[in-house]
């Protein structure tokens, strides 16, 4: 078991129930696609797992967890990419030498070493996405979570992202509207509707027209 949620409920200050008594377990080797229409609770769920949103219920996370935000601009806030990637390592208490080694290793893993000294303002959307992933990967999380990773990407960058994610050995939870991407990268699907699980099963669920209709995709 990598992650276990039990009776998770998230209520916003205006009393909107974003997540309603939700439970599931992420097992080793699983990559979960979180699907659902806008406002279904995908982002709230990711933020609650990451500890950003206060939630009722139990979240069991054995190790470090990494969250890649929908908008990479929110994740890249330092003057240069190197500092952005080093930010998490420094917070983990790594020495400068260890931080440098970790940053280099992460950049190489994602094939973006050439961007090391660039400002995030000068990156393309695809590069920003890879950079945002690097900021999280450098902290060696055991589970990776992505919020709409294909947003703002052209087909080529999207393909590159899918290839990259498939190579990463981590368990993943990916909130997305991109069904083709979900089918390519994930092996399990959890469909959310109004903050509850509408369906949970293998990726074949993505071909279930009835489910897609229930979710409001058709």
């Amino acid at each position: 078991m990598m992650l276990k949620l039990q009776n998770l409920t998230v209520v916003y200050p205006d009393k909107t129930k974003a997540i309603d008594n939700l439970s599931f377990t992420l097992n080793a080797g699983e990559n979960i696609a979180l699907i659902g229409e806008n406002g279904a609770g995908k982002t709230s769920l990711l933020l609650a797992i990451a500890g950003i949103l206060k939630a009722k219920g139990a979240i069991e996370i054995p190790k470090q967890i990494g969250l890649v935000f929908q908008n990479p601009d929110d994740q890249l806030f330092m003057p240069f990419l190197y500092d952005d990637i080093a930010f998490g390592c420094r917070n983990l208490g790594l020495s400068e030498e260890q931080t440098k080694a970790k940053v280099e290793e992460t950049l190489e893993m994602l094939n973006i070493s050439h961007l090391k000294n660039r400002s995030s303002l000068k990156l393309s959307c695809g590069e920003k996405r890879m950079a945002a992933i690097a900021t999280v990967l450098s902290m060696s999380p055991s589970i990776l979570m992505f919020d709409e990773p294909t947003a703002y990407l052209d087909p080529k960058a999207r393909r590159l992202l899918a290839e990259t994610l498939k190579k990463l050995p981590h368990e993943k939870i990916i909130a997305t509207h991109d069904m083709a991407f979900a089918a390519e990268v994930c092996n399990r699907v959890i469909a959310l509707k109004d903050g509850r699980i509408a369906a949970d099963g293998p990726k074949d669920l993505l071909r279930d027209e009835e489910l897609m209709r229930v979710l409001g995709f058709f």
């Binding site: 950003i52 601009d73 929110d74 330092m78 998490g88 917070n91 020495s95 400002s119 303002l121």
Partner: protein, 244 residues
């Protein structure tokens, strides 16, 4: 505006260098800068000539740290109007030539203080300065405000830039923002910046940021750091005490 943000980052880029000054302990550099600034501001308002040795000393430090003087000078020009208006009243209200002397003393003191702070930033990554402040027990709120200001300046400029582009594209080819739209533009910018700042802060928390946590990876004082700090203190105090 992107170029302006890049210019803001130019000093940070310099701090990634590898000179003797860059390798010194950040806390030693911070303390030395504080001693220098306190000494400079302790001089009287007519002590123009007494400040000259400090100009030479600062220039020497800049040469040793291989910091391009022009970049720092450009940044000082931003502060210049404030110093100018702070000193101009002396010219008017004090009898000649004391008014002029005190005016130029204010300018020179501002030059020395701002350039010393800029020199510190250009040879030390900002996160190291903030960490050193925490280790030196500077109040956490003060360090946090400094850190957030530094981090959010580019966020604010980025938001302003995208809003300005969106505005200009629907402004029938006219340049700038019309006065009647200025209020709502500023208000929207504030609200959007709050929203964006919250998301950035969430991203920071996700990557282990804890407000005012004292970092574990501390760089201990080496003998070279002590020597540097002592030399700066001796120089500053020697010229200051000579006057007393």
């Amino acid at each position: 505006m992107i170029n302006k943000i890049q210019e803001l980052n130019a000093l940070e880029q310099l701090s990634g260098g590898d000179t003797y000054a860059h390798r010194l302990n950040p806390a030693a550099k911070l303390l030395a800068t504080a001693v220098f600034i306190i000494t400079v501001i302790s001089f009287g308002r007519h002590a123009l000539m007494l400040l000259v040795p400090y100009v030479f000393f600062l220039t020497l430090l800049m040469i040793l740290s291989e910091t391009p003087h022009l970049i720092l000078l450009k940044r000082f020009l931003v502060a210049l109007p404030f110093c100018f208006f702070a000193g101009i009243s002396n010219v008017i209200f004090e009898p000649a030539p004391y008014g002029l002397i005190s005016f130029f003393t204010i300018l020179l003191r501002a030059y020395l203080c701002v350039m010393a702070a800029l020199l510190l930033v250009s040879v030390t990554p900002f996160c190291e300065i903030a960490n050193s402040m925490r280790r030196l027990r500077v109040p956490g709120v003060f360090v946090a405000v400094l850190e957030m200001t530094y981090r959010y300046i580019s966020v604010l400029l980025g938001e302003a830039y995208s809003m300005y582009i969106a505005y200009s594209l629907r402004n029938a080819g006219k340049k700038g923002i019309r006065m009647r739209d200025m209020g709502s533009f500023a208000g929207q910018l504030l609200l959007r910046s709050f929203d964006r700042a919250e998301r950035v802060y969430n991203a920071m928390k996700c990557r282990g940021y804890v407000l005012n946590a004292i970092p574990q990876n501390r760089q201990n004082f080496a003998s070279k750091d002590f020597i540097f700090l002592i030399l700066v203190c001796i120089f500053c105090l020697a010229f200051r005490l000579m006057v007393i």
